[in-house]
């Protein structure tokens, strides 16, 4: 219920929202949790395994129970913590992990089957009968797994990523962080202060205390005003630092749009939902505070059982009393502040139960010293507690229990670079080890210093040391005076007794589970964690790690430091994948590269093929063609009989110049290029240093010291990097320069018996077979525009490649097409290009698959004996020249089935089709209109010696099993006469 006059949001406007379909009202400044509590709603969800009723436990991002789903459809957001979700007009939230409703959940029967769901139950169940696994158990488990659900619709939210640099990154805006930021800022450091909460101030937003003689809230306002006025200070709320990384790098998630309804304006502009920051900080001060830990006792998980600090946060910050008859259970002095604040606000305290015999007493409320809570009563809401003391056991009526087992410093970020925290017996807590993260200092509560004065002192001191390191002078800020009460605590991890006592609320792990793990010899904390799943929920064990460790230590009769601790890893809070991958959606993830001929191809209805990031026309369907094969067959024949035009601009083109250009080519190619004459092109083979084939291509000599190398489309980037490696790392003394010109030249294949006729209608100077023999190259011009012509052939017909600067690509393509069509030819695409080259046995990266050598390809003759080249030494290893290796062959179907497929494997017809009998595989297939059947290229053991043999081709995936004849890997014009035309 709301307490009039309490809370920071007094007088704020009302906000309408729904929870499980029920219309409710809250105030601006509420979180969903504070608004639910104000409406006296405690039951918010059902636990993971046992489907027990659960309520709001905390007031922070460590919340394990109050996870809800917001929205529906594309904007559905599961597993949102009600404790950090800002309330906005029209918010729609609903409970998770329950059906049909949170009030009446069918799977609550799981609670009765609890003995079967103990630690590691999934290793002992769902095993028999074996057949049931796939049909029954797995589907069941999948349905039951997880808490919230996704809608399966595409995410329509927009995310951003950003980068920031600063002298000093301050994580957390409580007293320690504010003091650090103030000290640094006043001396001129560039300060970035990040706060996870929606408002800055940390515990100063909750605790009723004084700083420098004035209320903490007033001091806070003054400091924020000063920081806000300084140009060298950036303040960011709703921004959680998620991870610490090398070199002073930090990740942070800014929740830009979570606190308001998504706006989809008519202009379609979206406020980004989240922004993921990468921050490079010269120094970092971690002022992340501490998280209060629960106590484990029987039935400690009922709605209405909350953390003591959370109860006073709801009271002091949001003006909400979570109950009318409140009790408190603690082992430390700090928790008593909740009782005091409640009493002063007029809320009835039924009892304060403290496990310590020397607990402080009060005239405001009764205190039971040396007592423990051993059970709770109630169903969907807490109704009573049972207290055990020297007097025996007694029941107390209560609707809200505020519990506290002490405080855990938030050491998480200090563990991200593999440091382990250190146990402090005096604090009964882990604190950061020094130098855990280079450049980061921990101050205040996260460093085990719990008093406000201590926090202020540490923040100021740490900032002062940062200023020294930065070399910044300036008067240091005076540290104000604040409370400095010592931290008094006695150990209390779990109350002994029967029944289940919860440690990890989110994963439903109890003291019994940890004990059982130890009994089954999972005694190391790493094993206990994974066997019980304690600490593996989205709260990353924030509420259970230390207590579980203490229980394990107790059960295995070791001390806590001896038992050790698990580490923390990023992210500190869950980060949506959309934020991590901001910008990498659709074209942002996979940019599109288009050819100059793309528009014309599209106009002709070409089917586009994605080749890496490029789009290339696969075929150009003509009127009446309904199947791609019709188009492909026609295009193959128009190249063989007339003339075809194909855009080959995607192949890598590298312009190489300089006195040592020929030396570079001789070094990277297996064959000789220093002997290449000007005006000629040569085919070259490139190896990796391990002797395997990396790429093939042609290299043209256009001038005395000027070459243009081509690569395959697939390997263009790789070859470029390779050339840079050779030139910079291996031969830095050579005088050679090169650059990629792939996108600078639009290049088209003009292929077929009428190719020269076509060109002579277009080029400014005609060509003939004597002046332009096969493998000639040189400069030409078209309508006065200078370009290049290469007489090379990938189809096996007389063919040329014509290149003009890319700006002329579109009009050149259209002109070439019109001329080709006038000669009875036309455009051809990738499908036809592939058939043509298979007919000739020309290789692509289907054959150059990284496991193939020059010998395998039948190109051993291209390995020069006269010069060193990349890969030479390793290429001659016995294993790479072995006659037993798979060598390239051709295949023709001779069995009843005429279908061949790439990826099929080859077997001797008399062998069983088993892996040990595998003789090879098929790399490329196509239907050859010339031969009226499918043909293929592949690799076969001792293939060169098995020409004419029968071989069995098997493709299990496509259900093909047929006989083939092994043939030479060239089907059409083996003498190569047609291209020499």
């Amino acid at each position: 219920m709301r307490i009039a006059g309490k809370g920071l949001a007094t007088g704020s406007k009302t906000v309408n929202f729904t929870f499980n379909g029920r219309h409710l009202m809250g105030l601006e400044g509420d979180t969903l949790a504070s608004a639910l509590l104000a409406n006296d709603i405690h039951l918010v969800g059902r636990s993971f395994k046992y489907h027990r009723p659960r309520g709001i436990l905390t007031a922070g991002s460590e919340e394990p129970n109050a996870l809800v789903t917001l929205g529906t459809g594309a904007v559905q957001d599961p597993n949102i913590r009600a404790t950090t979700q800002a309330l906005y007009e029209g918010l729609e939230a609903r409970s998770q992990n329950c059906w049909p409703s949170v009030e009446h959940d069918i799977l609550a029967v799981n609670n009765l089957a609890a003995p079967f769901f103990g630690a590691g139950f999934y290793y002992k169940t769902f095993m028999w009968p074996a057949a049931f696994w796939e049909k029954l158990y797995e589907p069941m488990i999948r349905r039951a797994a997880g808490l919230g659900a996704l809608s399966a619709e595409a995410d329509t939210d927009v995310y951003e990523k950003a980068y920031a640099f600063c002298d000093l990154l301050v994580v957390g805006s409580g007293p320690a962080g504010l003091m650090a930021a103030l000290t640094g800022a006043r001396a001129g450091a560039d300060v970035l202060l990040l706060e996870e909460d929606s408002r800055l101030g940390g515990r100063l937003l909750v605790e009723q205390e004084e700083i420098d003689g004035k209320p903490a809230a007033v001091w806070l306002q003054e400091v924020l005003a000063e920081l806000g006025s300084l140009e060298n200070v950036r303040l960011m709320a709703r921004t959680a630092v998620t991870g610490a990384y090398d070199q002073g790098t930090y990740g942070a998630l800014e929740q830009v749009g979570h606190h308001e309804m998504r706006r989809h304006s008519l202009k379609g502009s979206h406020r980004p939902r989240e922004c993921f920051w990468r921050i490079a900080a010269k120094h970092c001060i971690l002022a992340a505070g501490a998280i209060e830990r629960p106590v484990a006792f029987r039935n400690n998980d009922r709605p209405g059982v909350m953390m003591a600090s959370a109860v006073r946060a709801y009271l002091n910050r949001w003006g909400v009393a979570p109950g009318e008859r409140v009790t408190l259970f603690a082992n430390n002095d700090d928790a008593h502040r909740t009782a005091r604040d409640l009493a002063k606000a007029g809320v009835h305290l039924a009892a304060v139960i403290d496990s310590r015999h020397d607990a402080p007493e009060s005239d405001l409320y009764p205190v039971m010293r040396g007592a423990q809570i051993c059970n709770t009563g109630g169903g969907k809401r807490l109704e009573s507690i049972t207290v055990r003391s020297v007097r025996g056991e007694e029941k107390i009526q209560t609707d809200c229990l505020a519990m506290s087992g002490g405080w855990n410093p938030s050491v998480h970020l200090t563990c991200h670079l593999n440091a382990r925290p250190v146990w402090r017996r005096d604090l009964l807590a882990f604190v950061p080890s020094s130098d855990a993260v280079p450049g980061m200092q921990a101050v205040g509560a996260c460093n085990g210093v719990f008093s406000t004065q201590g926090a202020l002192n540490e923040g100021a001191a740490a900032a002062a040391s940062v200023l020294d390191a930065l070399g910044l002078q300036g008067a240091r800020a005076e540290v104000p005076v604040a409370e400095d009460v010592p931290y008094q605590i006695a150990p209390l991890w779990a109350v002994p007794g029967k029944g289940r006592a919860w440690l990890d609320f989110q994963n439903d792990v109890t003291v019994k589970d940890v004990t059982q793990a130890a009994t089954e010899n999972f005694r190391s904390v790493e094993h206990m964690k994974r066997y019980t799943t304690q600490g593996m929920a989205t709260d990353q064990g924030k509420n259970s790690n230390v207590a579980a460790l203490a229980v394990l230590a107790d059960v295995t009769e070791r001390s806590i430091p001896e038992t050790g601790t698990t580490t923390f890893r990023p992210p500190f809070v869950p980060v949506s994948i959309g934020a991590m991958g901001a910008g990498a959606v659709d074209q942002g993830f996979k940019p599109q590269r288009f050819l100059t001929s793309h528009a014309a191809s599209e106009e002709r209805g070409a089917s586009q093929l994605e080749v890496g990031l490029w789009y290339r026309a696969a075929y150009f369907p003509k009127q009446g063609e309904t199947n791609w094969r019709q188009s492909c067959d026609r295009e193959v024949m128009l190249v063989r009989r007339a003339v075809g035009i194909c855009d080959v601009s995607t192949l890598g083109k590298i312009d190489i110049q300089g006195p040592d250009a020929a030396k570079l080519l001789d070094f990277v190619y297996t064959n000789s290029f220093s002997t290449l004459k000007q005006g000629r092109v040569r085919y070259g083979l490139m190896l990796r240093e391990d002797g395997f084939v990396m790429d093939d291509g042609t290299c043209a000599r256009l001038g005395d010291q000027h070459y243009v190398m081509t690569t395959t489309t697939a390997a263009a980037g790789e070859v470029m990097a390779h050339l840079e490696f050779v030139a910079q790392v291996l031969r830095p003394d050579w005088d050679v320069r090169f650059t990629s010109v792939t996108e600078q030249w639009a290049q088209f294949a003009v292929a077929g018996p009428k190719s020269r006729e076509l060109l002579n209608g277009l080029l400014d100077q005609p060509i003939d077979s004597d002046s332009w023999p096969f493998m000639a190259c040189g400069e030409i011009s078209v309508m006065g525009i200078k370009g290049r012509l290469f007489r090379i052939s990938f189809s096996g017909e007389e063919a040329y490649e014509l290149a003009l600067p890319a700006g002329y690509g579109d009009s050149l393509f259209r002109s070439l097409l019109a001329r080709a069509e006038a000669l009875g030819g036309g455009a051809y695409g990738m499908e036809a290009l592939n058939v043509l080259r298979i007919e000739k046995g020309f290789i692509t990266h289907a054959e150059i698959n990284g496991t193939v050598t020059a010998h395998d390809l039948g190109m051993a003759g291209m390995l020069s004996k006269k010069k060193d080249f990349i890969g030479k030494a390793m290429a001659h290893r016995p294993g790479l020249v072995d006659a037993e290796r798979m060598q390239m062959i051709g295949l023709k179907p001779i069995g009843a089935v005429k279908e061949l497929s790439a990826g099929a494997h080859l077997f001797a017809p008399e062998d069983p089709v088993e892996r040990v009998h595998d003789q090879g595989y098929v790399t490329s297939v196509g239907f050859s209109p010339e031969f009226g059947q499918m043909i293929a290229l592949g690799f076969l053991k001792r293939g060169a010696n098995r020409i004419g043999d029968e071989i069995r081709l098997v493709d299990h995936m496509r259900g093909i099993d047929t006989l083939c004849e092994v043939v030479e890997p060239v089907f059409y014009d083996p003498e190569g006469e047609r291209c020499r035309g």
Partner: protein, 89 residues
């Protein structure tokens, strides 16, 4: 992680491609053992190591980066062309 490219200054790791250990290329006649070691065998130190990085999204320089693989500290960055890794020509 950031690498200080001698030409471009400090840049995000993702602008680079890492090839691996910075090793001197053996001469052609060094023998198979030496070549096998160069291509296939690597020390895997938990400590200081020299690596080759390629600034492919930047200036295209190959760099020799001396790095501590245990602490991730980057100790030195130089142009690989100055590292003498080509071996005898």
């Amino acid at each position: 992680m950031r690498i200080a490219c001698p030409i471009c200054g400090e840049r995000d790791r993702r602008e680079f491609y890492v090839k691996g250990a910075a090793l001197e290329r053996p001469v052609e006649e060094a023998g198979l053992e030496a070549w096998h070691a160069h291509v296939n065998l690597r020390e895997n130190p938990a400590g200081i190591m020299a690596e080759l990085w390629y600034h492919e999204m930047g200036c295209g320089s190959w760099l020799t980066v001396t790095r501590n693989t245990a602490t991730h500290e980057v100790l030195k960055v130089e142009l690989a062309s100055e590292s003498g890794l080509g071996g005898a020509v």
